[in-house]
Homo-oligomer: 219 residues x 2
Amino acid sequence: MSASASGPAPHVPKKTRLGILLSGRGSNFLAIARAIAEGSLAGVEIAVVLSNVVGAPGIAAARELGLPTECFVSRGRPRAEHDADVIACLRQHRVDLICLAGYMRLLSADFIAAYPDRILNIHPSLLPAFPGLDAQMQAFEYGCTVAGCTVHFVDEHLDHGVIVLQRTVPVLDDDDAHTLAARILEQEHLAYPEAIARVVSGRYRIEGRRFVAHAAQTS
Amino acid sequence: MSASASGPAPHVPKKTRLGILLSGRGSNFLAIARAIAEGSLAGVEIAVVLSNVVGAPGIAAARELGLPTECFVSRGRPRAEHDADVIACLRQHRVDLICLAGYMRLLSADFIAAYPDRILNIHPSLLPAFPGLDAQMQAFEYGCTVAGCTVHFVDEHLDHGVIVLQRTVPVLDDDDAHTLAARILEQEHLAYPEAIARVVSGRYRIEGRRFVAHAAQTS
């Protein structure tokens, strides 16, 4: 059935527009794109994929998917100046929700203030354990028997904002840091689309540092 | 079949003798005692239950189970002097493996050196996250969506030694710190006997900070 040219326009709910920021291959970006394509992440679309590194493989992958891409080289530029360009680009593409996907750069306070509770990041540990680089190696060497990943809102501290969700991964006796990192990455690819769905639903509140989903309506 | 009175004595493998140290109700001690009684924790026996607090309910519970108990009041005594009494008591009871079960007291370096890799503790968080007091409340207030518990060897740092195992607990949207702590405690009661079994088996090695179980023999 198609809408009559003279009738009222059918109601199409506005999709949440994602801005993806990456610096590398962007495997989490691709997991998000796949979830959207497969219909498991509904009500969202990728508005733009943005990199701070020339030649980031994730940008090439985005182009292959026919998505708008932008690159603002950050190296050697003042953070505030670079971030201003990125923010302008996100606004131009009418981005509602920003997803950091291996974006190897701290955001300025102005950037974070421009998108309060609208910037997500994924980190390959069960935060607050093992913030920073090489989190999987840190967990492995610490001797944890459970590792995992965390999707969280970005605040002004490194790997610190309100947690949307965490997924666990057992550390196996015959693991090394690489096999563990690979299994954590599989869980990241499930966690990020799921977390985006939770945020986009709007059915949550933040209590202190807690992300609390609203109970399902029983009416 | 019974051994002949004149024949060789039947081989009875020596049981690993546990020394339990507690300061309160000792619910983890009771979980260990239950696992032994039910046969799910084989090859061990509780040699003595020891408290540093007069009237600790865990001591009364141990007496009801017919277990040897001792109390060495720690309050007001120098740590080294108190620990020397405890060590002497553990030696007198021929303790092989010490299990801290809510023992609210740091061990002296001499105590730890007297039982290298022979002292276990359980902590209600996924270490290294949330060491110290009120770990469950810390995890709840941090907004983790996964909490848990850790059984670890005791070293000279607080809640820090080599991890034997960790078990996870989801944080639910309708949790408060108390309901979460109760569900973590259920997992502690499973984790502690399981960790003791792993250690008592002897089929492991410690690589750096990692507790690595030996692969099952395939011969």
